[in-house]
């Protein structure tokens, strides 16, 4: 069997000013073909105005095992949310 085309992860930015969002992956021999293929596979219905592709092998991801150390510290910092503070009605919109 000959060599499989490398895997690319595809990110698309939609029309309404949101940032690029991961939509899936595809195989392509190089970056240029990956963009062309991404156009056909992921934007057949005007889903995007910009495409990023990145070799899947180049992505470093956090592992589920690290969930605790990475994300738990945020749990105890409820004061980061505006609803933590009571502002009297008389003060008006804040």
């Amino acid at each position: 069997m000959s060599e499989e085309w490398p895997l690319w992860e595809v990110f698309i930015r939609g029309q309404h000013g949101l940032s690029h969002r991961h939509v899936g992956s595809l195989h392509a021999p190089d970056a240029e073909m990956a963009i062309n293929n991404a156009r056909d596979v992921y934007t057949r219905r005007n889903e995007g105005v910009s495409i990023w592709v990145v070799r899947a092998a180049e992505i470093t991801a956090s592992s589920p095992g690290e969930k605790g150390p990475l994300f738990e510290p945020a749990n105890s910092k409820v004061y980061r949310h505006p609803t933590f503070f009571d502002i009297p009605d008389e003060v008006g919109q804040m």
């Binding site: 069997m1 499989e4 899936g24 190089d30 596979v41 589920p64």
Partner: protein, 330 residues
């Protein structure tokens, strides 16, 4: 359905108490409707069953292009041709979304293709029937895509994140497929006698195979229990089939077409339609490779794979050459 008779572990479903702590935590997440993501712990059986189901689903999308592709060059108008082309292209896209979901479980794309070509991986029985007339393109969109939607809507709730997300995307695109098929049927039933007969003939031939798409009856479906416990198959075969019949009968009535089932009748007490016995021998025979078009379909896939080999290799060689030139220049 698109994935029929997916083999699971073949063992009875374990109770929570029989599981080790890791597996128990996994099952509890599923019971709480928390999605499982690629790097999370999962039992080997869950991974394997999902790879089988998703790759079978993907293969069905890819092979499913063949019966319709057959009519692209013969579509009756330029508009119908453009629509059919877009629809068939969507099917290719759906196959690709699904392959990439399966790859997150560690299956390689080329391996999956090789398994299909070696006859080790299956695809839906429905695509082994021929598309003989233009009305078949209408019937396929209306019935086959209709049945596919019925299945895929519930799969959006599947416990595996990447599969569920692929389903959401596919469902959004799929309803155009069913409507374009029904639109073809509406046109034909308003046409000449010959066109009306053609529409009826297509329904006659596609009705039973469409009901078979949902897979064997629940009582015979050995692997369903485990798949349902894992929520990779949220609704049972028989229930999906019943929903499909209930939804489709009024649509046939609107067209003025006769569903080819003398036992079909409304059951007031159940609030659903009763329908006749399905010929499961035919279903198993088609799955075994003896349907009208099994050989033709596999030969077409094999040819595409073989004929494309030089192209895949050539682009890879070109990419490597470009890369090494770039490195030399730096």
């Amino acid at each position: 359905m698109y994935a029929q008779e997916v083999k699971s572990t073949g063992k009875p479903v374990k109770s929570l108490d029989e599981m080790d702590p890791e597996e128990r935590a996994f099952q509890e997440r599923i019971d709480a409707d928390i999605k499982i993501e690629p790097k999370d712990f999962m039992p080997e059986g869950y991974r394997k069953t999902l790879i089988r189901q998703i790759s079978q689903h993907a293969h069905s999308e890819i092979v499913g292009q063949l019966p319709e592709g057959n009519w692209i060059t013969r579509a009756p108008t330029l508009e119908r041709k453009a629509i059919l082309l877009a629809k068939v292209q969507d099917e290719a896209g759906h196959g690709l979304y699904l392959y990439c979901a399966a790859e997150t479980l560690g299956a390689s794309r080329d391996e999956m293709t090789e398994q299909l070509l070696a006859g080790k991986a299956k695809y839906s029985s429905i695509f082994n029937y021929p598309s003989l007339t233009w009305a078949d393109i209408g019937a396929i969109g209306w019935l086959v895509d209709g049945a596919a939607i019925m299945n895929q809507v519930q799969l959006q709730r599947c416990s595996y994140g990447p599969y569920s997300r692929a389903m959401v995307r596919i469902c959004k695109e799929e309803s155009f497929h069913q409507r374009q098929g029904y639109d073809i049927m509406m046109k034909l039933v308003k046409g000449t006698d010959a066109q009306q007969e053609m529409a009826q003939d297509a329904l006659d031939r596609w009705w039973w195979p469409s009901l078979m798409m949902f897979g064997p009856p629940d009582a015979q479906s050995v692997h369903s229990a485990q798949s349902m416990a894992w929520k990779i198959k949220p609704v049972s075969n028989d229930e999906l089939r019943q929903r499909f019949v209930d939804q489709t009968v009024p649509q046939a009535e609107y067209l003025g077409l006769q569903i080819p089932d003398p036992d079909l009748k409304w059951n007031e007490a159940r609030g659903r339609y009763d329908f006749g016995k399905i010929d499961w021998n035919e279903f198993y025979d088609v799955l075994k490779g003896n349907g009208p078009c099994n050989k033709e379909r596999m030969a077409a896939r094999q040819k595409a794979w073989d004929d494309g080999a030089w192209f895949r290799d050539g682009l890879m060689a070109h990419a490597r050459k470009k890369q090494s030139r770039k490195m030399a220049a730096e």
